[in-house]
């Protein structure tokens, strides 16, 4: 009789353990929610599309060879308003339309010594092709006046992780009434999807995009989504650079000489148009430029190690530990 009772207790214990295991599994799965990557049918970013060319005619004008100091400090007040102007013509300076310039004596000696303009590169090609020099990320928030939009804005003003990320990116907020939104983004980001978070590179290539119902419920989850998108993006793109802001009223001339090789420390916001010229860089070579260029901290909240587990994961592990202790206690009491 006694043994029978013991057997029933053990079976019951196993049933409880199985139930416990199932519940823990459900909780853990819920906590490991992976952000859905562009699976929404309601709104998707458009694919790449060709851009139209601008300008139709190349101008040819006379060419002085050095900085004209007389023209530098003069009053700039041309008013060539002539509606309707003929298209694509060089505005001719009509004498009767031009207010004669007068000499203005600057209050402080701001005119530097004259120099001959000598571009760093003697060839006619640019210092660096622009397609190599787009090294910033952008975050754009498209918000309305609803509570969800306001909460999203608050996250980027209060959450330390999002504030830090924002400081490393070009950041803009657009509303439906914003003129830039109406003229540039209205077709791409429909207002009925507001609020929207767009995390993209400087070319517009999306790193992460989420709108309306796809937005998570906490700032932490949004940050994790942005980082997850960044990691996916990094699989297909090279590492990018950001930098710190220089002091106010930055004088390019005082800090940079004509023959100087620019580095990130020399430029107003730590970002120069000149890229490293060597070709040793390879995709996935993320650590080449050190901590300065890392958009996300490496150790903030990784999910692949126990020590970085979030509060939910730690709670799950604690439950498992308690269950094991309980079983051990029962086994000891039964003399096994």
């Amino acid at each position: 009789m006694k043994d029978e009772i013991r057997i029933r207790l053990s079976v019951g214990l196993i049933v409880v353990a199985v139930l416990h295991a199932v519940m823990l599994g459900a909780v853990f799965t819920a906590l490991h929610r992976t952000p859905a990557a562009n699976t929404s049918d309601s709104w998707r970013l458009p694919p790449a599309r060709p851009t139209s060319e601008v300008g139709s005619r190349i101008q040819q004008l006379p060419q002085p060879s050095r900085v004209n100091l007389e023209a530098q400090g003069e009053l700039k007040q041309q008013s060539g308003y002539c509606p309707p102007c003929p298209p694509n013509t060089i505005p001719a300076a009509e004498p009767h339309r031009i207010v004669q310039p007068y000499r203005v004596v600057p209050t402080a000696p701001t005119v530097p010594a004259p120099i001959i303009v000598t571009p760093a590169s003697s060839s006619t090609r640019p210092v660096t092709p622009p397609e190599q020099a787009k090294n910033r990320y952008q975050i754009a928030l498209f918000v309305a006046s609803d509570a969800k939009s306001q909460r999203l804005l608050d996250w980027f003003n209060t959450d330390p992780n999002l504030v830090k990320l924002k400081s490393k990116c070009a950041f803009q907020v657009y509303t439906e009434s914003n003129a830039l939104y109406r003229t540039r983004y209205a077709d791409i980001v429909p207002a009925n999807q507001f609020p929207v978070v767009l995390f993209q590179d400087s070319t517009g290539g999306h790193v992460h995009a989420a709108g309306h119902t796809m937005l998570p419920s906490t700032a932490r989850e949004l940050f994790d989504d942005l980082r997850h998108g960044y990691e996916l993006y990094q699989q297909t793109r090279q590492a990018q650079r950001t930098g710190a802001l220089k002091t106010r009223g930055y004088s390019w001339d005082a800090a940079i000489s004509p023959t100087m090789q620019l580095s990130s420390e020399d430029c107003p916001d730590g970002y120069c148009p000149i890229e490293p010229v060597d070709n040793t860089w390879r995709p996935f070579d993320r650590d080449r430029d050190g901590d300065r260029d890392r958009l996300f901290d490496r150790d903030s909240s990784g999910r692949n190690a126990l020590i970085w587990a979030g509060a939910g994961e730690l709670a799950t592990l604690a439950l498992i530990f308690v269950a094991v202790l309980l079983l051990g206690f029962i086994l000891i009491k039964r003399g096994l």
């Binding site: 353990a17 700039k76 120099i115 540039r184 980001v189 996916l232």
Partner: protein, 203 residues
């Protein structure tokens, strides 16, 4: 007894293994990128500010250029305030003094250094600069065409279009007009977004 022990050990292992879900690897594929937007500071034509005549009957080209520049930086309120406050002619040092007074951060050159314009293009901000006699325009970036590079200029006397000048010629002319350029240190308008990658396998 051994059967019960085995049962309990299995139950313990089952509990211990609970929650050990493997991290799923996500495979992504890069999607083709569109050609870069040209000019890089592509202020929509509807937002081009036309030059206006001030109370001294002078053109306000510097202020109009700055308003265009500020609009590209999504600083509409500041641009409208500037437009309502300042008009007529302007020169470089007074412009900087006024920007300082308005607590607006900026970067500038008076040496016609083309690298300044490279930087203004690379950061997508653009700039205002002395361009054409006694005039100021908005530089909206270098434009590549037929293997050559051209300066794209928004002239506030001719809004609605961009004027192109070959790079080397532009730099020499810019020097002749005084070599001044200035960029406000705010973030530019966001790029036009597109899908840059797609998830092809989530295991």
């Amino acid at each position: 007894m051994e059967a019960k022990l085995r049962t309990l050990v299995v139950a313990c292992l089952l509990l211990i293994c609970t929650g050990c879900l493997p991290e799923g690897d996500v495979q992504v594929r890069s999607l083709p990128a569109p050609p870069p937007e040209q000019p890089i500071a592509n202020l929509p034509t509807q937002l081009h500010q036309r030059n206006w005549t001030g109370r001294l009957n002078q053109g306000s080209c510097v202020h109009a250029s700055l308003v265009n520049h500020l609009r590209w930086l999504n600083e509409f309120e500041l641009g409208e305030r500037w437009r309502a406050t300042y008009s007529d002619g302007e020169w470089d040092s007074r412009l900087r003094n006024r920007l300082d007074a308005a607590d607006i951060d900026y970067s500038y050159t008076v040496k016609a250094d083309p690298r300044f314009l490279d930087w203004a293009t690379a950061t997508r901000r653009g700039a205002i600069l002395w361009w054409k006699p006694a005039h100021c325009c908005t530089f909206v970036g270098w434009v590549n065409r037929d293997g050559r590079q051209y300066a794209a200029i928004l002239d506030n006397n001719y809004p609605g279009r961009f004027e192109l000048t070959p790079r080397e010629q532009f730099v020499r002319l810019w020097a002749g007009y005084g070599g001044f350029a200035l960029t406000v240190m705010e973030d530019p308008a966001s790029s036009l977004p597109y899908r840059s990658y797609e998830v092809i396998d989530e295991r």
